[in-house]
Symmetry: C2
Amino acid sequence: MEKFKYPDINPLRIEMSDECQVYKGLEGICVKESRICYIDGKGSRLYYRGYNIMDLVEHSKYEEVVYLLLFGELPSREELESFERKLASKRRLPDGLRGLIRSLPKDSDPMDFLRTTVSAMSLFDDGGDETEKGIGLIAKAPVMLAEFHRYRSGLEPLEPREELSQAGNFLYMMFGKVPEGSEERVMDRAFLLLADHGLCASTFASLVTASTLADIYASITTAIGTLAGPLHGGANLQVLKMLEEVGSPDRAESYVEGMLKSGKRIWGFGHRVYKNFDPRYRAFKRMAREMAELRGRMDLFETAEKVEEAALKRLAHKNIYPNVDFYSGLVYYFLGIPQDLAITMFAISRMAGWVAHILEYWEQNRLIRPKAKYVGELDKKYVPIEER
Amino acid sequence: MEKFKYPDINPLRIEMSDECQVYKGLEGICVKESRICYIDGKGSRLYYRGYNIMDLVEHSKYEEVVYLLLFGELPSREELESFERKLASKRRLPDGLRGLIRSLPKDSDPMDFLRTTVSAMSLFDDGGDETEKGIGLIAKAPVMLAEFHRYRSGLEPLEPREELSQAGNFLYMMFGKVPEGSEERVMDRAFLLLADHGLCASTFASLVTASTLADIYASITTAIGTLAGPLHGGANLQVLKMLEEVGSPDRAESYVEGMLKSGKRIWGFGHRVYKNFDPRYRAFKRMAREMAELRGRMDLFETAEKVEEAALKRLAHKNIYPNVDFYSGLVYYFLGIPQDLAITMFAISRMAGWVAHILEYWEQNRLIRPKAKYVGELDKKYVPIEER
């Protein structure tokens, strides 16, 4: 048998790939079709599966919206009840995972904590297909966070309660008492409003991981790691810090003027897609007012509102409007959630959207693999170290 | 003061963004410029920072190549010695991390293990800038893997030894004895050959995470999760399984013929970029032969070579040639590395390239955020659950 010979290579000629245009940040490039979320940035409208978010926040609830995002249609009563039972039954954390949480430093950064715990979930997986695992992550993420809160605060761990909603169980496990109906409803709407927002950087990153057919744990771990970046999540925490600095409503004008004059930004303002107000901002604002009244802290709400007005006067002509972060931090604050958990609240809400986008991508999977344009040198001569 | 009024919204008109072409998998799209790696797919050449990989594998060593990838130039002797001391000094795992490793199931999937442990590194971080942390990850990744191997095998943990090279220390910590020079050299070249390969899916995914200014731990965690996908890493394990199935050199022809006739693939063949042999394949083949002689297992090497020849006869006309995976699994096998650690070997080698690409991206950072084209419905009417 004749031995195979490889094709000859021209030793003098390096083949350069064709010139290609570089799309920095991939801005404007479409990577896939989607039926999950539409953002009308000029019209201040956000749709989940074709339903306006303002209809959903008024009439629906988080569990129903998760079902809608994952499966594309609003559930019948029977489907919803079955789905709620499934979520409730998947809340309990595996013992091994609870042990692992207790092996982490109490001062762990909450997002680093959540990323590590979600990654470790794959090691304690109890089977099922990727959809089941995804639903498990949606069910367990708030439980993990509450477990972490109690552990680092030196509080006894609690068992999840199956008769409570996702929102109700989360508040119960955080604070050790079943929440008032009004609190649960606010938490529920806060989860719902952040459940998806199209192809943000964390969602896109999770699709790159998923596109290699890595599993849902790897893909969601990627999403959490990406959300933690200051250019993505995290502004809601800054808004609260800003309101503390302002201190009272009458100081809002001079604070905003001072900040803008010295070239600093007003946190919670501006968005890459919205060229008018962010519809979620309106919903969060209503909830912040409601909770401020309940807590007797209208002073804080009014400070926020005065900052908003002062900033709008000066920024609206540049199409810079308040975004979802402006009042969401305040809502979490009134619910008693520690300020440093703000980005993790975003993460546990968005879990639903991440899972939905990953499952949708797998329906027509294609490895995501753009190119880099090589602009360096070639065929450099290796000089031995003694001659350098 | 007059209250701000938001611009009016046309309640009857949803603004759809402009039509956009969908680039599935982002194939052919350039996302950035790079000076790190060039692959000449027609000419079977791979360059790190302009140096041909075949020169590097012959004359250089892993630590020097890591320096080259990270800093762009070959080091002077003084720079190299200082860098080697730094790597050696960063090998020791924090106690908390060692405790965490021991809280994981012994039958953990090795890639899930590595992803979780690298993610947890951020919780036990000892400071320094992102470059220092990246060098720490390069130094520690093989140590983590060896620690895992010993833990799951019920062996006593070992302390890293600063006087050994990265390759030498890894083999020492795996097997409890300082390796022979020939073994160390093979391990060193295996690390070097896989240290980078341009913008593969895991490297790109890590850049999406990094582009939000998330930290290096989050970014590398993303890379590991992405590498685990069957469409990306993992073929080297399959090659070994295939050789076991073949059994002996004389059965190679009929095995390959049978596989191809029944429409199955030959593992370790084919690559998206190389349209001729993969240059790393040649280097790994030489090392596999060398190790086979050392171990008295030329039968296994010859089986591989016969499978290679039989497959080439039938596949080369379709531009399908052996890739890096074809002999790398065999090299690991001869080094005594358990077969199920094959993808993690890839990961700990590639750590250098991941860190280099992330640091390069941050020099001109831009949030990576392509779009999805919305093809679903809009303005669906919310129907109360009792009417569904």
